[in-house]
C-alpha cells in the first residue's frame, strides 16, 4: 500500500508527476490550477529526481517547450486552465500532427472569455473534438476524484507513449481545489539516457549517431498525397484507441431504465443523485465515461437497447450529450436523450438532477415505457 495523504487535486498532480518519473514540467500560472507549479517549485524535484520545472513566459511558450522536450523522447507535461489551453491550441495541434507523446492537464474554469475561476466542463468539445486546427484527437481522461488525479498522471503517460499521442487530463476547478484522501504511487525512476534511446530512439531527437538516419520531428508534408497518408495513419491510430483503450465506470446500470451520463465533478453529483432517485423508487443508473476520447460508445449502445432514456448531466450548455445521441442513434434505439446542466461555474445539486430527470422524462415516467414516435 502506498503512502496515504490528504491533499488537493492540484498538489497531487505535481506529486504524481515527480513520482512517475516525469522529466519536465513547463507551465504558466492560471487559477484554478496554479498550485501545480507552485507545489513543484516548492518540492524542487530537480534535486531529487532530476525533473526540470520551468515557468514559461506564456502558455504559447510552455506548450512549445513541451513540444521541444517531448520530441527528445522524454516524459513531459504541462497544466493550465481554459483560457491558457485556448492559447496552446496551435501547439497542441502540432504535437498531435508530429505524433509526440506528452501529458496536458486542463483544470477547467467557466468561460467563454475570461469567464470565471469556478469549475466548469465547458471545454469538452475543445478537448475531445480538436480545439486546434486539423483532424486530430487527444486521449482525454476525466478524473472524478483526487485519487484519479494521481492515477491518471501515470496512466496518461502510459497511453501517450503507447500511441505516440498527446494525452490530456480534463479536470475542473472543483477536482483541482478539493482535498481528499489519496494513496500516492510509489516512486518510479526517470528513464536513463540509454532507456530513452532504447524506447524512443526510433523517432526521437536524441542526437544522431552515425549508425542511424537523422530523426526529424515535423508535421509538414508539401505533397497532399503524403499529407493524406499521414492523416489516414492518424485516423487508424485513433480507431485503435477506440478498440483498446475505452474506460468507463457503470454504476447500478444493470436494471436501470434511466441512465445518467456524467464525468468528473458532475459524475460525483450524479452518484448521489442515483441514491436519491432510487430512494424514490426510480430505476436510475450512472454511466461515467473515464476516457472522453475514446468515448465509451459501445456500452452506451448496449444500454440503449433496454434503457428508456439517457440524461447527460454536464457543467456546460450540453456538449457530451451530442456524443451520447450519436451512439444511441447508431444503436438504432429510440431511447430518448436529454441534457441537464448548469453553466458559468455552478455545480448542479443531486436534487436538481433528479428533478430534471423527472421533468424531462415525465411522459415516460407516467406511462412506464419508451415513447414511440
Amino acid at each position: 500500500m502506498g503512502e496515504i495523504k490528504l491533499m488537493k487535486g492540484n498538489e497531487v498532480l505535481a506529486e504524481a508527476a515527480i513520482r512517475c518519473g516525469c522529466d519536465g514540467y513547463f507551465g504558466y500560472p492560471i487559477t484554478p490550477q496554479s498550485e501545480v507549479m507552485e507545489t513543484l517549485m516548492a518540492r524542487e524535484p530537480w534535486k531529487e529526481t532530476g525533473m526540470v520545472v520551468l515557468q514559461a513566459e506564456s502558455e504559447v511558450a510552455s506548450i512549445n517547450m513541451v513540444y521541444g522536450a517531448a520530441a527528445t523522447g522524454k516524459k513531459i507535461m504541462t497544466s493550465s486552465s481554459s483560457p491558457g489551453i485556448s492559447l496552446m491550441a496551435e501547439g497542441i495541434s502540432y504535437l498531435a500532427g508530429a505524433e509526440l507523446p506528452c501529458l496536458l492537464v486542463n483544470v477547467q474554469r467557466g468561460g467563454p472569455g475570461l469567464g470565471t475561476i469556478q469549475p466548469s466542463q465547458a471545454d469538452y468539445f475543445q478537448a475531445v473534438k480538436g480545439g486546434g486546427h486539423g483532424d486530430y484527437k487527444l486521449i482525454v481522461l476525466a478524473p472524478s476524484s483526487v485519487q484519479e488525479m494521481n492515477d491518471f498522471v501515470d496512466l496518461g503517460f502510459e497511453l501517450a507513449f503507447k500511441y505516440r499521442n498527446p494525452a490530456m487530463i480534463l479536470a475542473d476547478g472543483a477536482i483541482g481545489q478539493m482535498m481528499e484522501k489519496v494513496e500516492l504511487a510509489d516512486y518510479k525512476p526517470r528513464w536513463t539516457k540509454e532507456e530513452v534511446v532504447e524506447k524512443n530512439g526510433g523517432w526521437a531527437t536524441t542526437g544522431k549517431p552515425s549508425s542511424r538516419k537523422k530523426n526529424v520531428i515535423t508535421s509538414l508534408e508539401m505533397a497532399s498525397n503524403d499529407m493524406e497518408v499521414r492523416n489516414i495513419n492518424l485516423q487508424a491510430k485513433y480507431r485503435k484507441m477506440e478498440e483498446e483503450d475505452v474506460r468507463y465506470e457503470a454504476i447500478q446500470c444493470d436494471d436501470a431504465e434511466f441512465i445518467l451520463v456524467a464525468f468528473g465533478t458532475a459524475a460525483r453529483v450524479c452518484q448521489k443523485a442515483v441514491e436519491v432517485a432510487r430512494a424514490k423508487g426510480l430505476k436510475v443508473g450512472l454511466l461515467r465515461p473515464i476516457t472522453l476520447f475514446p468515448f465509451p460508445k459501445t456500452i452506451i449502445k448496449e444500454l440503449a437497447r433496454k434503457a428508456v432514456g439517457f440524461l447527460s448531466v454536464e457543467m456546460s450548455a450540453g456538449q457530451m450529450v451530442e456524443d451520447i445521441k450519436l451512439a444511441v442513434y447508431d444503436a438504432g434505439s429510440n431511447a430518448r436523450v436529454n441534457y441537464f446542466g448548469r453553466m458559468g461555474g455552478i455545480i448542479p445539486t443531486p436534487t436538481e438532477v433528479v428533478e430534471a430527470l423527472e421533468d424531462k422524462f415525465s411522459w415516460e415516467l407516467s406511462y412506464g415505457v419508451k415513447r414511440s414516435y
Binding site: N64, G68, A69, T72, G207, K208, I217, T218
Partner: protein, 261 residues
C-alpha cells in the same frame, strides 16, 4: 599528365561539406540561406557535434533546413523555435541546441519567445536570418523591412506612420543579461562568409561552455522577394540594409554580465 593523376587524396583542396545531404536545396539561386546552412554544417562537423546537435527549424523559407543538414531536427511552429529549443535544452543539458529563424519568425510573431529565451540565458545558439522581408509567403513586410521599401503589403513603400519603424531587434537582444555573444554578420562576400563562420564558431563554443544564449544575426538577401538579381541584391543590401543594420559584434561576455561594445 592525365587528369587521374591529379585526382588524388593528397591533392584535395575542397570537398562537399560532409554533413550537407544530397537533397537539392529549394532556395532561390543567390539566397543567403544556403550559405548559412553550409557554415553551420561545416562547423558541426569540424567541431565533432553531429551526435550532440538538435536543430530547430522555423516556419519561413528555412522550414526545410531539416532536409539539408544531417543531424536530428525539430520543426517548430511559426516563431516558437526559442521555446522549443528551451524545452529541448532544459531536459537535455548536454545537447547542442540551436534555432534557425527568419526575421518574420523571430522579430514579429516570435518576438516574445526570443526575448524570454535570451533573457533566461538559455544555452542555445540562435541564427537569425534578416532579409527584411517574408520570403516564404511571397514577399510581405517584415518588422525589419526598411522605410520606403516596397513589399507585397507595402506596395507604395513602408510608411512608418502606418507600419512603424524597421526593428533592430538584435540591439535589444544585446541588452538582455542572459545573452553572452551577440553579433551581426553577412555572407554576401567571401570575406563576409569567413567572418560569419568565425562568429558562428565562437557562438557555438559559448553554448558548449554554457555561457548563455549566443545570437548571430546574418543580414541576408532575398532576391526573389526584393525582385532583384542575385548580384543586384548584394549591391542593394550593401547600400541599404547594412547602413541600417551595421555589421559587427554587439556584445561579448558571459550570462549575467552587462558588458556591451
Amino acid at each position: 599528365m592525365d587528369i587521374q593523376d591529379i585526382i588524388k587524396p593528397e591533392n584535395l583542396v575542397y570537398q562537399k561539406t560532409k554533413l550537407l545531404t544530397d537533397t537539392p536545396m529549394h532556395y532561390c539561386p543567390g539566397c543567403s540561406h544556403g550559405v548559412v546552412h553550409k557554415i553551420l554544417a561545416e562547423l558541426i562537423d569540424e567541431m565533432g557535434l553531429q551526435d550532440k546537435s538538435i536543430g530547430v527549424a522555423p516556419v519561413g523559407c528555412a522550414v526545410f533546413a531539416y532536409n539539408y543538414i544531417d543531424i536530428d531536427w525539430q520543426e517548430a511552429a511559426h516563431g516558437r523555435a526559442p521555446a522549443v529549443a528551451t524545452g529541448i535544452s532544459r531536459v537535455n543539458p548536454d545537447a547542442f541546441v540551436f534555432t534557425y529563424q527568419g526575421d518574420g519568425d523571430l522579430a514579429s510573431i516570435g518576438a516574445a519567445e526570443i526575448m524570454h529565451a535570451c533573457n533566461r540565458g538559455e544555452n542555445i545558439l540562435v541564427i537569425f536570418i534578416n532579409n527584411g522581408i517574408y520570403g516564404m509567403t511571397g514577399g510581405q513586410m517584415a518588422p525589419t523591412t526598411l522605410e520606403g521599401m516596397v513589399t507585397a503589403t507595402t506596395p507604395n513603400g513602408r510608411n512608418v506612420e502606418l507600419n512603424g519603424y524597421p526593428m533592430r531587434i538584435t540591439n535589444l537582444i544585446a541588452q538582455l543579461p542572459g545573452t553572452s555573444y551577440v553579433t551581426r554578420q553577412s555572407v554576401h562576400t567571401a570575406g563576409g562568409v569567413r567572418k560569419c563562420k568565425k562568429a558562428v564558431k565562437k557562438a557555438i563554443q559559448n553554448v558548449l561552455d554554457k555561457k548563455g544564449t549566443s545570437f548571430v544575426e546574418v543580414v541576408s538577401t532575398c532576391n526573389s522577394g526584393w525582385k532583384l538579381s542575385p548580384v543586384a541584391s548584394n549591391k542593394w543590401m550593401e547600400e541599404n540594409m547594412i547602413p541600417y543594420y551595421p555589421l559587427g559584434d554587439m556584445k561579448d561576455s558571459v550570462k549575467g554580465e552587462h558588458s556591451e561594445n
